[in-house]
Amino acid sequence: MTLEQAASAALAAAEAAGATAAEAWAEEQRGLEVRVYHEEVESLTDAGGRGLGLRVFVDGRSGYAYGTDLSEAGLRELAASAAAGATAADADEHDGLPDAFGATPVEGLSSPGVEDWPTERKIDLAVTVDRAARARKGVTQVEQTVYADQRGRAAIANSFGFASAYEASSAWAYSSAFAGEGADLMTGFGVGLAREPGGLDPEAIGGEAADRALALVGARQPESRRCPVVLDAFVAASFAGFIGGMLSADAVQRGRSLFAGKLGDEVAAAQLRLADDPTDPGGIASAPFDGEGSPTRRNALIEDGRLATYLYDTRTARKDGRETTASATRSSYRSPPSVGTSNLVLDPGESTLEELVRDAGEGLFVTDVAGLHSGVNPVSGTFSVGATGRLIEGGELGRPVREITIASDLVAMLKAVRGVGSEARWVPFGGSVKAAPLLLDAMSVGGS
């Protein structure tokens, strides 16, 4: 049975089970993962799978079931479970299928390289990343290097007659390098993301892991201070991802977002522009339609420092009397659609990282934060996170520092943005984020 056939059979089963409306999401994918240690294959995983998730509505109540058995019998069981679940739920007048469906053409989601490259060549790529990291003087260990890819298809069908499908591929590699020894051991992470293995630069990925570790060797806890802070692209992405999550209308409506009631308000410095863009082929999360079949589009979230919109799916949009922003995401067929970000894009600015550091004068350059998700109060936005990086002294990067805490609140931080870097890149932190370095006005930096 093809995915489309399974989706259509699932809809028929849902109707037979008493559903008044239904939506099926079927997926199949195949992926390869190579883990390399000491330039040798530690593990090679070659695997595939397929499954289907079925969302049913029974008189305003919704239920969800997923499974891997796509036979007629398997789909009947799924439909029965979803319908039985729905009877336990409370009715939600806003919930239901979208009013409009469609697919936005997004070019370049799938690349033949993932399929065309033989496994040996992908192993070589991973070994090259590993070797590049190990080759740097001062690197004491490369804990792990990974190459992975995936190609897959997703098909949606609903009881309003909409049916569509798309294919996508992705390839990524990362490496984790150590420099220094004993209590002075520091780690560095390098990563690359593309649509196919040919889009990855193995030397750059390995080199980045090594360089990030080497830059931190000898790090000590600095004295507490209040100073300008430069966040590198990795760290900026982590914060952007957290902020993106707070912009979900679901979080807002449930009273779990510091952005509640702030639509149109000034929430950031004027030069900060943040968008969610599922139509950018460079972003791994791009797709022609969202998790409930609404055609995707770019959504400006923060423009000229003002909060332009929240992210909506059909249910949250109806509740607010607005239109969906096509932001119903699915992590896989195992999850019903829920509001979330696709690819967050932080608009790059004019300054190079060097210039941001020079503008900071005396400050802190942060290359890693720890505890973001435990250290932030999502409602008030206050946070306290651990940080690692380097001091900025006389407008240049100085000695490495660790065991620092940065405490502030997110809106104050967004308003403190004084410069956005020009060197934007896709990173897998905070979801899929195209991030650039950020220069922030004085923040409280805790040390000894």
Partner: protein, 460 residues
């Protein structure tokens, strides 16, 4: 129920070894689950899942070749075995015949969750909602979630070994938001175990009461102090500090890659005489317990620290072979789609002689960290950061004002060496542990423990 005929398992293992390899393993699994939540007084998101699949692992020297497939159909399993075998170009090896596996529950399940009508599960959520809302006028929002899972697994390896397990887990969690003017605080509580519905059906209100109390208390919180000070860590979920800052560093994969600050330190005295800790996958009904690990090795109680000395790492088969040790039954995996890794089960400090009051009375000025919102650790260095979700000042040997925004920053071995008191009130709490992209249930626990000095990153 038997997931897979032994003849098919043996045939697949034989095909996997057709081009060589030291050994091969077939892991078959049927997973079912149901979850439902309540938010803003509304019951929503009922979700059921049913997955069946298998994976084959082929080990040759230091390399592992792995693949998985949905379903247990014979042609698919044999094709998977053929595909995995392609990695090698050596002499074929035979797979020894395996016996039938009949997975059975190892822990008591008095009331099978899947036989309980959804309405009763929803009833638990509504009871929690009502209790939490009744705890105080400042309770602004309540959410509750219920989840049950059942994993029936059968494991066969080419050495002729076969084992099975039938695992049922239930969990009930409550989150409460309390509001006073502009102040908004949250409180969480979770109860979970390797057990049946009876675990959550017994006084579910207690979970809601605890979550509400935490949120309401936090409304009075003052900014956390900053600096180095003694810290008394609460029992139960406070054990996440042990799990993160020490436990992960004892997992043999990290140790063998010199990616752990504890590598090469077995036998070394890292803590005071009265400090002992275990990883115990056999504790009846606990969240991190299973009869066997995901390689079929029976779980066990492993002493990781005894009398202050580091006594053992935690091994799966692969790392045990490499380290010339025996597996400690810690080869765990999230599902048939994942490779096993050395993972903790239930990890905890053994109870000591002190009382929590003794530990607190000995602190002139410090922090009482009752529970954590989460944390992060770098196993290579042992450096950790934890967000304190419920904390209090200790002043003059007494617990005083609640604090907010406290973060604990430190280093695993240093903190372990600084443990200067252990109480007797051991409790194990429900945690989820993430590693290598895999999430498994892990029990975290301890009695009250005092650390002589730790850096507290506060907002005040």
């Amino acid at each position: 129920m038997s997931l897979l005929a032994p003849e098919l398992a043996q045939a697949a293992l034989g095909r996997a070894l057709a081009r060589g390899g030291d050994w091969a393993e077939l892991y078959a699994e049927e997973r079912t689950g149901f979850a439902v939540s309540l938010d803003d007084r509304r019951v929503e998101r009922p979700q059921s899942g049913h997955e069946i699949g298998a994976s084959i692992r082929l080990v040759s020297g230091e390399s592992t070749y792995f693949g998985h497939v949905d379903g247990l159909a014979e042609p698919d399993l044999l094709a998977l075995a053929d595909s995995v075998s392609q990695a090698l170009r050596q002499e074929a090896r035979e797979a020894v015949a395996v016996h039938t596996v009949d997975p059975k529950p190892a822990f008591a399940v008095a009331e099978r969750p899947e036989h309980v009508p959804a309405a009763r599960k929803v009833g638990l959520l509504r009871a929690c909602d009502e209790t939490a809302r009744g705890a105080g006028a400042e309770v602004a929002q309540v959410s509750a979630n219920y989840a049950e899972t059942r994993r029936v697994v059968a494991i066969f390896n080419s050495g002729g070994f076969a084992a099975g397990d039938d695992r049922t887990r239930v969990r009930l969690g409550v989150q409460v938001v309390a509001r006073r003017a502009d102040r908004v605080e949250t409180g969480h509580e979770t109860r979970g175990g390797h057990a049946g519905f009876e675990l959550v059906a017994d006084r579910p209100e207690a979970i809601a009461e605890s979550a509400a109390r935490k949120a309401l208390t936090a409304l009075d919180a003052v900014d956390a102090p900053a600096g180095r000070m003694p810290v008394v860590v609460g029992n139960g979920f406070g054990g996440v500090l042990l799990h993160e800052a020490i436990g992960h560093g004892l997992e043999a994969d990290a140790v063998q890659k010199q990616a752990s600050v504890y590598a090469g330190r077995v036998g070394e005295k890292l803590a005071e005489e009265f400090v002992t800790a275990y990883d115990d996958g056999r504790l009846p009904g606990e969240w991190g317990s299973d009869a066997i690990d995901d390689e079929g090795t029976p779980t066990q109680k492993t002493t990781i620290i005894e009398g202050g000395r580091l006594t053992s790492y935690l091994y799966d088969r692969l790392r045990a072979h490499k380290g010339k040790a025996l597996s400690t039954g810690n080869g765990r995996r999230e599902s048939f789609r994942h490779l096993p890794l050395p993972r903790m089960t239930n990890t905890y400090f053994a109870p000591g002689d002190a009382t929590p009051e003794d530990l607190i009375a000995g602190v002139e000025r410090g922090l009482y960290a009752v529970s954590f919102g989460g944390g992060q650790v770098e196993p290579a260095t042992g450096d950790f950061v934890f967000g304190v979700s419920e904390g209090y000042l200790i002043e003059g040997g007494k617990v005083t004002a609640p604090v907010r925004g406290a973060t604990l920053i430190g280093n695993g071995p240093e903190a372990l060496g600084a443990v200067d008191g252990v109480a007797g009130d051991l409790e194990i709490a429900t945690g989820f542990c993430g590693k290598g992209g895999q999430r498994v249930p892990a029990g975290v626990g301890q009695p009250h423990v005092r650390i002589r000095a730790l850096t507290v990153g506060g907002t005040g």
